[in-house]
Assembly symmetry: C2
Amino acid sequence: MQRLGPWSREAWAALALQLLRPPRAPCAGATLHFRRVQGGLVQPPGREFAEARLKTQLESDKEKSNFVIKTPKGTRDLGPQQMAIREKILTAVISCFKRHGAKGLDTPAFELKEVLTEKYGENSRLIYELKDQGGELLALRYDLTVPFARYLAMNKIKKIKRYHIGKVWRRESPSITQGRYREFCQCDFDIAGHFDPMIPDAECLKIIYEILNALQLGDFLIKVNDRRILHGMFAVCGVPDNKFHLISASVDKLGKMSWKDVRQEMVGKMALAPEVADCIGVYIQQHGGVSLVEQLLQDPKLSQNKQAQEGLRDLKLLFEYLTLFGITEKISFDLSLARGLDYYTGVIYEAVLLQTAARQGEEPLGVGSVAAGGRYDGLVGMFDPKGRKVPCVGLSVGVERIFSIVEQRMEATEKIQVTETQVLVAAAQKNFLKERMKLIAELWDAGIKAEMLYKKNPSFLTQLHYCEETGIPLVAIIGEQELKDGVIKLRSVASREEVDIKRENIVTEIQRRMSES
Amino acid sequence: MQRLGPWSREAWAALALQLLRPPRAPCAGATLHFRRVQGGLVQPPGREFAEARLKTQLESDKEKSNFVIKTPKGTRDLGPQQMAIREKILTAVISCFKRHGAKGLDTPAFELKEVLTEKYGENSRLIYELKDQGGELLALRYDLTVPFARYLAMNKIKKIKRYHIGKVWRRESPSITQGRYREFCQCDFDIAGHFDPMIPDAECLKIIYEILNALQLGDFLIKVNDRRILHGMFAVCGVPDNKFHLISASVDKLGKMSWKDVRQEMVGKMALAPEVADCIGVYIQQHGGVSLVEQLLQDPKLSQNKQAQEGLRDLKLLFEYLTLFGITEKISFDLSLARGLDYYTGVIYEAVLLQTAARQGEEPLGVGSVAAGGRYDGLVGMFDPKGRKVPCVGLSVGVERIFSIVEQRMEATEKIQVTETQVLVAAAQKNFLKERMKLIAELWDAGIKAEMLYKKNPSFLTQLHYCEETGIPLVAIIGEQELKDGVIKLRSVASREEVDIKRENIVTEIQRRMSES
């Protein structure tokens, strides 16, 4: 990475302006003073410089008065309904991670800039950097994997199984933001340590399977490949070493693009020899199960490549383990799967949802990746002063895409309950605020989820309406008669049934009803 | 705010360098080309320019090799033990918020810079800004309150009760970082809407009480005051309007500093007349319950001030409600409580832990604020184009301080369980990997939390040791004899008791044992 000195943009701008203003004046290079630029936009040089400055000053003021309250581009608030859905998803994901014995971990939202650079290849330009306000140069994390590797190296941890739920930030360019957010939540599970081959890898695939099953997102497929097979294939087909990255990215487009278009890109844009492209084409259009692995192990070309052989042998073992886990029916060995991130070194995988029961004879359509991951045996070593490696394999569940699917379905089929309130404490007549407050405190203290309206004298109808609106199932009603009789009237909102409960038994009665429902 | 044009720091630097290199060369202002700066640190002009560049290049390389892997200043990772503790705390807090009927909300980690400016007074300088990478100017949120107000105004919401758990970021200066983090988690609960006075305010205090009780942090006290009483008192004592902020900050130090020192600051640093300071001193050294409120309502000076009277009357009502909620024994009306944030307009409060049973005759010592909040009726209006107000009252629980207390205590008294694993699937002899994998998949599918070691042939002792280390209570053992007999040996780690369970009953047996424990 190129590095600029400790000067801020303002300082550089001031320096440049000093040199430029007034235009065509004698050069002042030898007697520079650095001062902060005051007011308005600082403009590059031009004619009528003062006028231009004034104009931008005015524009800046205008902009201010037109300031629209919004969230930053590519981000959004999650309102109560959306939070209720996200909670459901996260609960399913976390409970699966815990079922597999993972420990929790949290890392800061930002890292030293140096921690993130040179880890994401081309995508590094999407990293959000913090302003240099004096002190360290920082950047928002781009994923949870690099911070995990940094954590392992920093604490010299050689073995751990951890999960991490957290937001990550990517400055996706506008053209690719369809459905992509610049802030989104990732759920990562990773196994670090030296173990026997493919045992942790198989568990990662089992976890993806369990989560997608639990969330009932419809039919899905987990595509599996191995970076070593991909690279071996490139080598035997005659792709020059320096083009592996480019061709890899091209290969990854198969599925979104036809083979014809992918080939076009390879031969045209990437200047690959047509026969090399065709060789790749023969391989990457294949997908299947363990029999394809076995077939490729015998492939005259691939069998000559050590890397490819290693990858294929490991995949064969992986399929054996996946059979024991009973999940092979959802696994597809797909030679076109390449994955974007630089740091993968072995097995890679990606789960896609299949649109089932397409309407009006439409083709079943993939709606994109909802979970993905792979093996990255070199990343931790990048942080270790002596380059000591800690092999890792892991997966990341993309909450955002799953979210839109679940949201769509829940909105269509059910009323989303955004609070868990069990009982509303209500008054039948005026002047019962004190009684309501005394009762609700008792309920809270007994752990009952209770609300009351914050008006001194809300109308009875308003209170009932609030229950129906928000889905509160019970109303505890206090009125003159009830006070006289030493009872509370307990009303079921759904059935409208009302029954008098002795004041001293009301907590137990509500608890009994809640445990039944 | 000053604004710079769309040029990046690099572009400005390139421009400046073009103008400067070679030094004293004819000015090239009229024929500028902008190019990216290559390599090393870009240096301001000087003699022996090339030498200076080389030197910094070398320094930069040296710096790189000395690069220490760490988290950014003021931040930290939370490892598995710490995450287990944080989860306990958050569970208690969230369950209380839900018990009070709050809905969830999430907002982005960063906001448009304009959203945050002019909301925090003096503290605005602690806001982390993002680098201008083209596009909007952004800053990391400083608290959860301003984003909440922005959300309400943006969506024209007039009434809501919401909670929000999230990280906030503050560039605290090193001198005040003792125990303060630059990234920390806040748990906020707020009630927005036009309601009858003090009813939502009382609930906020009840919530603080419930949470501190549930967390068993030891004895605590919730200090209460009202911005209107504070301002009324300043007015009747003769503090000039423009010094309210300064004096308020000074008042807030009482407790950490003696009255003598606070008075010294007021009279010296803040140039307050001694008799004005003494007048304030008489008030702010008082604290007590509702009787103090009543006494001050009759105070010859304060009773002449409308603001103070309003505040006192509301506090009286608040105490009435707190009595109904049964929590007044922990409430102290404290005239020295001022709170730092600009946006409060009415009741303010702050919960402090009291160090109980001080050792070796030490004085009981406050260990700082663990929850705080207040009423802010003007903040939402700041975002509304027509200034329409939505009154709000809320509270924020500071997880970090609570965390250190709970951590200390848990480390001293109990083993912290970082995973929830119920059973380890183990092999008694070699070559049982397949059987282990088949069995563990069955357990996972039945929702049982299970682990196995990722070695093909781990020794039996290693497996038992793993259980003891990590607190797994059960071991399901497969061996030659067991396979022959169609059983699994189930071992209790604590009692070392072993019993053979029929293979087909193992899931039910484990579930039965887990539900009993």
